[in-house]
Amino acid sequence: MSVKRYNPDIRKSTSKPFLLYIFIVPFLLSVVVALFAMNIKAFILNCAIFLLYMGVLYLSNRGFKNEEEYNKKILTKAPKIPYKLLSALLLGIVVFSTSYIISEQSILKSSFLSIISILGYYLYYGFDPREDKLPNIDGVSQEFVLETLQDATQKIEFIEKSLSGIDKPSLKDKIENAINTAYKIINTIQKDPQDIRVARKFLIVYLDEIKTLIISYKDIDSEYISEDTHNKLEDLFDDIQDRFEKELIRLKENNILDLDINIDTLKIQINN
């Protein structure tokens, strides 16, 4: 059985700068043609423009990657470096330089083309996300919510990676089930970050202890672990699975309670 991360809200971003890859062809051709024409000046200039255009592609790719990560996560901060904006500006510089230096157009025409290219980039690809996807919770800082969830996800990922070193299939299955439920808990908290208070023990204590347990298990050669210890471990992971499921039910019940409170509040307001 393989662990499938429970994350139903992931939106897969399909946008990649394919169009920019097509536009690199003329720049590449200019370099090749200038080389065959033995036009050294044109070759050097075209090479410089080509490299700048590669920079546009690099920045765009970074920007798209950041945007994809941002879209995937329910709670996250906006990207710190606006790669897509930088890429658009560099594209403007490339278009201006090509037009003014190589095509020998006027400054006005070159600037116009440059602005059109930046505008085109913005309309076609858009710029970087700016708003943090962080909730407002009374008494808990947004940074704390984000850090706690990131920390918990890292711990689960660590446990997930450690699975490869566990030989016993029955134990592995049980750990995988626990991981799957843990991801469901994280997902539920991400949807309603108020739950972070309710699930503090799960996020801080349980995951830490499981991580420590897995580390100590992996430190010992599996040959030296007795069948009795293996059985103990399996029983422990059965308990962990039960605990996690209870935690998940508790979180869902808490959400229902919130809904009930909201219904009652609205009812009182309407009746008044």
Binding site: L19, F23, P26, F27, L29, S30, V33, A34, F36, A37, N39, A42, N46, V95, T98, S99, I102, S103, Q105, S110, L113, S114, I116, S117, L119, G120, Y121, Y122, L123, Y124, Y125
Partner: protein, 35 residues
């Protein structure tokens, strides 16, 4: 608010115009030189 599909088409045309007009010309110039 412009619909996203219109934005994309406009963006495509702008990019095609700006990059196309600036990058094809130098190639043609050099080609002419070659011929």
């Amino acid at each position: 608010m412009i619909p996203q599909s219109v934005q994309k088409i406009l963006g495509f045309i702008f990019l095609l115009f700006a990059i196309g007009t600036t990058s094809i010309k130098p190639i043609l110039y050099i080609f002419k030189g070659l011929i």
